[in-house]
Amino acid sequence: MNNDDRSSRPLSASRRLFLQRTSLLTGMIALGGGSYLYNPKGVWAAAPIKVGIATDLTGAISWGGIPNSQVAKMVIDQINKGGGLLGRPLQMILEDTATNEQLAVTKVRKLVTQDKVDVVFGGITSSMRNAIKDTIVNRGKTLYIYPQLYEGKECTPYLFCTGPTPAQQCDTLIPWLIKNGGKKFYLPSADYVWPHTLNAYARKAIVKNGGEVIGEEYFPVDHNEYSATVNKIMSSGVNVVFNTTIPPGVAAFFKQLYEAGFLKNGGRLSCVYYDENAITITPPHEVEGLASCLDYFRAINDPFGNQLQAEYGKLFGNTSYNAGSGSTGMYRGIKLWEAAVKEAKSVNREPVAAALDHAKISDGPGGGCEMVPGTRHVKMNMYTAVSKGGKYEIVEKSKGPVMPGECA
C-alpha cells in the first residue's frame, strides 16, 4: 500500500493528531494509521453513510467471517452502483474480531465511538454476539444486525437477527424426517448453547409429530471418538440421527457411523448446519442421504440465486455462496436495512429501527422475506435438501415463509 493511497483515505483528524502525540510522547513506533476502508468509487457530494462490519477474518471462525465480509462488500458495492441510499454513498468499515471476544469489544468500540457508524452488522458465534451487543446497542446507541443461524432467544431491543432460528430449521424438517426416516431419533451434540437450545426445540417437534427421542448426548466441542455412541445408536434401532456435533469431530463421527453400517441399514442422517460447503468435509458416501434444512441451497436453482452465485464467484475467485456461514443472513440484513432506511428517509436509529420492524424484500437468497413485527426476527422460506453423491437435492420447500417463533 503506497502513501498516496493511504492519504486519500478518510481519517479523522483527531485520531491522526492522537497518533502523532503518542508517538512523540511515549516513543512508540507508529506503524501508520488508517482504517481498512472501502471507498465508494466516484465523487459524491454527500457525506457517506457508514456501515460497520465486525466479523472474524482471522482465527477459528474465519471460515465464516471471510465469506460474510465478502457478501457485505458485494451488496454494499451493488447499492453504491445503484446510486447509494438517500442520495448518499455507503462506506463500509470492516473490523476483524479475530474469533476473540476480548479483542472484539475494542474493535466494535472503534466502529461505534470513533467511526460513528450508522449500523453494525456482524458476529458469527453467539458468544461473539453476546460479547459485542452491549457495546453496540446499549452503550453505543447503535443499531445491530446479526446474520447467522443461531439458537434464538435474542430479544435485545435494536438487535435484529436475520438468520434462521430453531423453529425455522425444525418445523419443516422434523415431519419430513419422521416420514422419510422413522420415528426413533438420536441427538448426538456438541456441548454448548446452540445444540442444547436447538435440541430442546427439536425434541418438542419430534414428540408433537409422533416420534420419540431414544437418546440425547453431549460431547466436548473437540471430541472425536464416538464408538460408544455409535454402538448405542446401532443397538437401539435408531432411525434418524439428528446431529449437532461440529467440525472437526463431526467428520470422525459420520465415518464411524457409516462404518458401523447405519446408512446401509436404512438409517437417516440429519444435520441442520450442513450447507454445500460443509458437505465437502466428508466423503460423499459417508453422508449419503443426509438431510439438512436451510434458508438457501445452490440446488434451489432459481434465477435470483444463480445470478447471485455468478456474481459472487466472479468477485471472489470462484468460491461459492453458501448459507451456513451467515452469508444469507448478511445479504438479507443489508437489504432489509436498506429498505428500512429508504422508508424512514433517515439513518437515525429510532426511525430506522421502527421501519426495520416491518421491513420486507421481494428477492433474496431463497426468495423474499420480511421482518415479523415486534420480534426483530425474519420469516423466510426454508428448504429441506438431501445429499446425493456429494450434492444436494431439494426434497421439500416450506409452504410459504416459516415463522421464526422468537421473542413473540
Partner: protein, 347 residues
C-alpha cells in the same frame, strides 16, 4: 548489606532512567483524555486494566520466579463472581464489587497455591507452570459447559458500576478510576519489591537453594507472593468485566494467561513498568496491525514478538535502561550502586 561495601569498586553515578519513564507515562496518562477522542480513552482504560494483570504476572515471574499460567484464571473468576453479584443480586456499587473481585482473586490463588506451591515437596518451575496451566484449562472448560454462567456465551450486558448514585460510565470517569488503581498498586508493588521481602524475592530468583539455606521458608514466601498477585489479577478482572460490559470464558482461558506472559516478556521482566509498557504496546500494535493487514496481522505480531524475545530477552525496557538499573538495588543508595556494579550475572 555489609559485604556490599567491601565489594565497592565503582564510583560511577548511576543515571536512573526508570523514574523518568514512569513520570513521563504518568504525566501523559493524566492529561491524555483531554486531547484524545473517546475511543482512545476507552482503549487506554482497557490497557490500564490489562497492565494491572501484567503487573500481577511480573510480580510472580519477574520477582518470585513462579511461572504462572493462571493469572487469567484469577482475572476471569473475579469477573464472573462480580458479574453474578451484579446480575443476580443487583449489587453495582464499586465499593463492594472491586474489593470482592480482589478477594475472589486472593482466595482462588490461595487454593491454587496450596495445590501447586505449598505441597510437601519443593515444586519445580515446570511443575508450577503445568499445574497452573492445567488449573486454568479445567476452569475454562467448566465455565464453557455450565449453563448457569452462560456456558460458551458468558454473561452479557452487565450494568455499569456505581458510586453512590453516580454511574461510572466507561470513558473519562472509568479511565481515571483505573489509572488511580493502577497507580496505587504500582506504587505499593514498588515499595514491596524494594523492601526486605523484595530482597528475599530477588534472592530466590537468583539462587533459591542458597536462600533456603539462609533459613527462609522459600515456599511460604512464594505462596504469599502468588496470593498477592492473585488479588491484583482479581481486581483487574472485576474492573475489566464492567468496563467491557461482558464476561465470558475467554476471560479465564489459558490463552489470556499466555498473552499476559507475552505482555511481560515484551515489555521487560522484573521491572514492573515493563509489564505495563508491554501490555500497552502489544495492545496498540495488535490494534494498529489489524487495521492495516486484516488477514495477516496475527502472523506479523507473532513474528515481532518472537524477534523481540529472541534478540532482546530483557524486553522493550532493555532498550532504555541498563541491566544494573533494571535488576535494581537494595540497601542504602551509595552501597547499592556499588553492589550492583559487581553483579556480573544478571537474571
Amino acid at each position: 548489606m555489609s559485604q556490599s561495601t567491601e565489594l565497592s569498586t565503582s564510583s560511577l553515578p548511576l543515571r536512573k532512567v526508570i523514574p523518568w519513564v514512569e513520570l513521563g507515562l504518568l504525566a501523559t496518562s493524566l492529561i491524555l483524555p483531554v486531547f484524545a477522542d473517546d475511543f482512545w480513552t476507552l482503549f487506554l482504560t482497557r490497557v490500564f486494566i490489562l497492565g494491572l494483570l501484567a503487573l500481577s504476572f511480573d510480580l510472580v515471574w519477574g520477582y518470585a520466579g513462579i511461572l504462572s499460567f493462571s493469572q487469567a484464571l484469577f482475572f476471569g473468576m473475579a469477573g464472573y463472581c462480580t458479574a453474578l453479584l451484579a446480575t443476580e443480586a443487583g449489587i453495582t456499587s464499586v465499593l463492594v464489587l472491586l474489593p470482592v473481585a480482589g478477594l475472589v482473586g486472593l482466595i482462588v490463588s490461595l487454593i491454587l497455591a496450596f495445590i501447586v506451591i505449598l505441597g510437601r515437596r519443593v515444586p519445580t518451575t515446570v511443575f508450577v507452570a503445568l499445574g497452573t496451566l492445567t488449573g486454568s484449562y479445567v476452569v475454562e472448560r467448566l465455565a464453557r459447559g455450565w449453563s448457569y454462567v452462560g456456558g460458551q456465551n458468558g454473561i452479557p450486558s452487565l450494568p455499569r458500576l456505581t458510586l453512590g448514585n453516580h454511574e461510572i460510565a466507561e470513558g473519562v470517569w472509568f479511565y481515571y478510576m483505573a489509572l488511580a488503581i493502577l497507580l496505587g498498586i504500582y506504587v505499593a508493588l514498588k515499595f514491596l519489591t524494594r523492601s526486605q521481602l523484595g530482597l528475599v524475592l530477588a534472592g530466590i530468583r537468583q539462587h533459591e537453594t542458597r536462600i533456603t539455606f539462609f533459613g527462609y521458608r522459600v515456599q511460604h514466601v512464594k505462596g504469599i507472593v502468588f496470593a498477592l498477585a492473585g488479588l491484583i489479577a482479581g481486581l483487574a478482572g472485576g474492573m475489566y468485566a464492567f468496563h467491557e460490559g461482558y464476561v465470558g470464558p475467554g476471560q479465564l482461558s489459558p490463552v489470556l494467561s499466555t498473552q499476559v506472559v507475552l505482555y511481560v516478556l515484551f515489555g521487560g521482566v522484573g521491572t514492573l513498568i515493563g509489564a505495563v509498557i508491554g501490555a500497552g504496546m502489544i495492545e496498540y500494535l495488535s490494534f494498529m496491525l489489524s487495521q492495516e493487514y486484516q488477514r495477516l496481522w496475527p502472523i506479523i505480531l507473532g513474528l515481532l514478538l518472537l524477534v523481540i524475545v529472541m534478540f532482546r530477552p530483557t524486553g522493550l525496557i532493555g532498550f532504555l535502561v541498563s541491566d544494573r538499573e533494571r535488576i535494581g538495588s537494595f540497601g542504602r543508595p551509595d552501597d547499592a550502586a556499588a553492589k550492583n556494579d559487581t553483579d556480573k550475572n544478571p537474571a
